[in-house]
Every structure is written in C-alpha cells, then in structure tokens.
C-alpha cells in the first residue's frame, strides 16, 4: 500500500514539476508548446492508472505487482531505451539543421523518451507478452 501511494505522490510531483517548468519557461503564444499539455496528461494518467490498479489489487488480497507486471515494466524499459537512442540521434540531426536552444532540445528529448516508454508499456500491458 505504501509503495502504491508513493507512486501516486511521485507521479503528481513529477507532473507538477513539469507544469511549473512549463509555465516558467514558455509563453502561451507558441502553438508548438501547447503539445506539452497532452504529454503531461499522459504521464499523470499513466501514474494514476498504475497507482490505482496496485491499490485495487491489494484490496482484493492480491500482490500489488507480480511477474507479469514486472516483465511488462522491464520489457518496456529495455525497448524504450533502445528506441530512445535512435530518437536522440534524430533529434541531434534536426538540431544541426534547425536552431533550437539547448534546454529545449534536452526537454524535447526527455519528453520523447517518456512518450516512447509509456507507448511500449501500454502495448505490452494490453496486448500481452507472447513467446517469452
């Protein structure tokens, strides 16, 4: 139960930090920056989904995480890391041709990594892991 509450608190803190950083750094005129809103929403939804499903399992007398959930997390982490390398490569290539500020590139890279991880996690969580 403590770990589940910790995950929920951590996800809320992360989202709040991103929100504060977003409001301090960007202006609302730039439409491109508004893309951050759905990303923040994705992170928040994902964190809450994990936290709530863990609490629900514990209430039923089941473990908050088991071999399947751990395997989904491990596989999503490893594949998203692998794909992120290519994402950073593409970002650095774009950065060579289009002038971005350094902090924008780093921020964008981290957000891309988050999207890739959440994407793969969702795929494995709802489609399952076969042949392993």
């Amino acid at each position: 139960m403590k770990k589940s509450i910790f995950i929920i608190i951590l996800s809320v803190v992360v989202v709040l930090t991103i929100a504060v950083w977003f409001f301090k750094t960007y202006s609302f005129e730039d439409v491109q920056d508004l893309l951050l809103y759905p990303i923040i929403l994705i992170i928040l939804t994902w964190g809450l989904f994990i936290g709530i499903s863990r609490i629900r399992s514990q209430r039923k007398g089941q473990p908050p995480e088991d071999e399947f959930s751990r395997k989904v997390m491990r596989k999503a982490s490893s594949i998203s890391f692998y794909v992120s390398i290519y994402a950073w490569l593409i970002l650095s290539y774009i950065d060579d041709h289009v002038q971005f500020e350094t902090h924008s590139v780093i921020g964008l890279g981290i957000l891309v990594m988050v999207i890739i991880f959440v994407g793969f996690w969702t795929i494995f969580r709802f489609w399952g892991i076969r042949d392993e």
Binding site: S53, S57, K60, Q62, P63, E67, W127, G128, I129, R130
Partner: protein
C-alpha cells in the same frame, strides 16, 4: 503454448480473482494466461498446476507436437 486454465478453473469452480489469490499473482495475469497472451514462469506454472492438483503438462500444452528428440543426437 496453449493451456487449460479456464477449463480447470471452471471445473474447480474458481473465479479468476480466487485463482490469482491462491497462486499469488494479480487477476490480470490470469486473464492474460487464459487468453494465451503470456507465458508463465516455471514457478507460476508449477503453482497453477498445484492449485488444480494436476501435473504441469496437463495444464500447459505446447503447440509443437513434433519435436526433435535430443536422444537422437
């Protein structure tokens, strides 16, 4: 790999939640096992077969019926 978890669960009149509790996993894991979307670890396969009082090979069935016998080598 196919399995007979759903069939055995019905025979023992167990819900997915009850089986999950017995073998120490989450209900989602049982759902994915029954759908054939997840292959369990050896320990979980053993625990499930133990819950139904049968052998592992009576619960989990491999698709490849024709296998090369290692004794031929």
């Amino acid at each position: 790999m196919n399995n007979r978890i759903k069939e055995l669960r019905a025979r023992f009149n167990l819900t997915q939640d009850a089986l999950a509790k017995i073998v120490g996993v989450r209900r989602e894991t049982i759902v994915f096992l029954e759908k054939g979307k997840y292959n369990p670890s050896l320990k979980l396969a053993y625990d499930i077969s133990k819950a139904f009082h049968v052998k592992i090979e009576e619960v989990f069935i491999f698709d490849q019926d024709i296998r090369e016998d290692p004794r031929n080598y």
